[in-house]
């Protein structure tokens, strides 16, 4: 068994945070917004002017007597992404990003919710309340959250089967998730789809696809329709490093480039296609370059701010110039699915290493704490809240009934023309499709 840990670290060294992980420069915008607390504003501006170089910023708690309400502060904060973007056939966006306390706390909460949801799904699967396949996204939350922050609901997202968190980011509810996973009526697909088939068309989330790679041409098709309809919106088609070698991807990309479709192909590179490491499946694992004539960007997918920046950039690019590829360097803590232990093809050290060094939620937590945007207790309270939300939704989902038997025959067609459909015993169970 090759030790992937050393190979991974060697090839990914640039992505690991350099020792000065906290090297962030905090400087006020040129027009400081009105502050309810002039003392605070003065204290912070004095503070900012004295700390240009990268060093751990210590909160001046003694100078701050009044804490701003954490959830509503939209004062711009300027930060840098963990690493610069690497570009192919285009000019990389700046690694300087604008955010705010409000945004960072929203990111924290959303990712913590997703994390909790996926871990709860693990337990439900082991309790046999979830059947079949269940592909969990924990570790990759920053991609879903950062992407959503850069988009509007007019933009489309389509992904494969690791779709629970993407569905949530598009406005799905926990009840819809857990009810669907448990095959109940309140599920987003009324229990008929299952884990791999979540959809939310009213938010332009197009699923939820089980066949590796199929969602990419479909996503280019959405982009085609958007352009055709002159909607001034884009489609993000997500796929994994395993799907990146699929021929249909290149066929769809070729057409998208010929026709200047507003398609953004996002490779969520978690480095393993089921049990196969990327270097065993791809001659060139530089997925952001695989578009050849199509530009690409490599992004630290564990940094939600980098993801947002890259998606903003990509959206602007695609609307003007056609398809672009984003490679999100990310990681999944779970195995490929609940049937895969995830430890036969990678070491536990590698998994814990990523958790310690690159976890997206921890990253935001450290940012929030180091900028004194909230206390540790406040963040822990958010995590407790989120845990309760998840537990409540699960309890609700468990009470929810299974689909009626008549649902067997609904939605086979949009227009059934009155034809008959049959159950297993065609003389016993039959229905007329409306």
């Amino acid at each position: 068994m090759p030790t992937l840990l050393s190979a991974w670290f060697n090839s990914h060294q640039p992505n690991l945070h350099p020792p000065s992980f906290y090297s962030l420069s905090l400087f006020r915008s040129s027009h400081p917004p009105p502050s309810p607390n002039p003392t605070l504003a003065m204290a912070l501006s004095r503070f900012a002017s004295s700390s240009r170089s990268g060093s751990l910023l210590k909160p001046l708690s003694s100078a701050i007597s009044l804490r701003r309400p954490i959830s509503t502060d939209t004062t711009p904060i300027t930060l840098e992404t963990s690493v610069p973007f690497t570009a192919h056939q285009c000019e990389a966006p700046s690694r300087t990003v604008q955010t705010s306390a409000n945004e960072l706390l929203t990111f924290f909460r959303d990712m913590a919710l997703m994390r909790r949801m996926e871990i709860a799904a693990d337990s439900l699967y082991k309790a046999k309340l979830i059947r079949g396949f269940c592909h969990l996204y924990d570790g990759q939350e920053a991609v879903a959250v950062g992407m959503e922050a850069a988009l509007t609901k007019k933009d489309c997202i389509i992904t494969a089967y690791r779709d629970h968190c993407t569905f949530m980011a598009r406005g799905g509810t926990l009840l819809e998730v857990f009810a669907e996973l448990m095959g109940r009526q309140a599920g987003c697909s009324r229990g008929k789809g299952g884990s791999m088939h979540f959809y939310k068309k009213d938010s332009n989330f197009y699923g939820g696809h089980g066949i590796v790679g199929a969602q990419v041409p479909l996503g280019c098709g959405l982009a085609f329709a958007q352009k055709y309809s002159k909607d001034e919106a884009v489609t993000f088609a997500l796929y994994g490093d395993g799907a990146a070698n699929q021929g249909q991807l290149f066929e769809a990309l070729n057409i998208s480039a010929l026709w200047d479709l507003p398609a953004i192909l996002v490779c969520e590179n978690n480095h393993y296609g089921m049990g196969t490491a990327e270097w065993r499946a791809a001659k060139s694992p530089a997925y952001y370059k695989r578009g050849d004539y199509a530009p690409g960007l490599k992004v630290d997918g564990m940094d939600v701010l980098a993801v947002k920046q890259a998606c903003t950039f990509a959206k602007e690019h695609a609307l003007k110039n056609g398809p672009i590829i984003l490679e999100m360097d990310t990681y999944r803590y779970h195995g490929h699915s609940m049937s895969d232990p995830g430890s036969t093809y990678r070491t536990r050290d590698e998994i814990t290493g990523v958790r310690q060094e690159r976890d997206p939620i921890e990253r935001i937590r450290k940012l929030i704490l180091s900028h004194d945007l909230a206390t540790e207790k406040e963040l822990k309270d958010i995590e407790k809240e989120v845990r309760k939300e998840v537990d409540d939704a699960i309890a609700q989902a468990k009470e929810n009934p299974v689909p009626e038997s008549s649902e067997l025959f609904t939605n086979v067609y949009a227009k059934g023309l009155g034809v008959e459909s049959f159950g297993a015993d065609r003389k016993e169970v039959r229905a007329t499709l409306p």
């Binding site: 008929k192 066949i211 067997l408 049959f422």
Partner: protein, 367 residues
Amino acid sequence: MLGVVRQKMLGQSLPKIRPAVSVLRSYSSAAKQMTVRDALNSALDEEMSADPKVFLMGEEVGEYQGAYKISKGLLEKYGPERVRDTPITEAGFAGIGVGAAYYGLKPVVEFMTFNFSMQAIDHIINSAAKSNYMSAGQMSVPIVFRGPNGAAAGVGAQHSQCYAAWYASCPGLKVLTPYSSEDARGLLKAAIRDPDPVVFLENELLYGESFPVSDEVLDSSFCLPIGKAKIERVGRDVTITAFSRMVGHALKAAEILEKDGIDAEVINLRSIRPLDRSTINASVRKTNRLVTVEEGFPQHGVGAEICASVVEESFAYLDAPVERIAGADIPMPYAANLERLAVPQVEDIVRAAKRACYRSVPLAAAA
């Protein structure tokens, strides 16, 4: 609006009363039990050992030991030249397999499930099935496409389809559907040795099931003939045809029917193409009644072909309309209760057999 209509069966006459017939088991008395998984693994192992041209190719077949552990230990034994992990690119590696077969090698191409074979179906049909014909015999294609087929448990619409009818409609292909461990060993060995493209449809839910295997079955030269069905249970009153997992259901149904004095003959088709029409017709000529059972969609399914064959060749012998039990005519739902309604159950087979024997009880009116 939808109406789920239960058809009323008008009470038919004359229940057939027969003395209880002892069930003849047609496999030899065996001391050893073997799972289907081990049967497939040992068959692959033996054929790879016997012929260096045989190699295995597919996703996770090597280092991962097989997605369902069918190829466990083979990488260690035969090395990476002969046990090849592929990227997730079915069209690509299926085509590569067919090309290798053109040149004279004997690839065994694994699809993680046959749902993914649709990505490669052009190569299976156009590159493999038709080549020997188009080239007037120059290009035989000794390839085996194997993997799990049909429904598993709760895997949803895109992962549950049965492809037996689709592949079996294509001339140039041979399509095999093992049920027991004996079937798995004998048919896989036959498939690998066969000079034509074989679609080998396994079933995930059968992998863990154990069956008795005789010494003859365990011998490395063991091989079953392609195109011959097996009569799993001899009977007199009604013929039930089934393949793959449904054979188990049919056998259970036969036990229930026996208590009601109906002696069912259960045929394990083993081979969908060529279909063993003579065994099926001989059985129907004996019993005069037929129930076909399959997991897949009913329209244009295996049962439809069997029914047509029987009507064409043994019409005068039929005493009742042919009954078809199949998967529901809908995409596979995820919810457990709906999935149960979408897949044939033992009671469906029992009910259909009773109808064929004019023994069904009139159903209550629909609510």
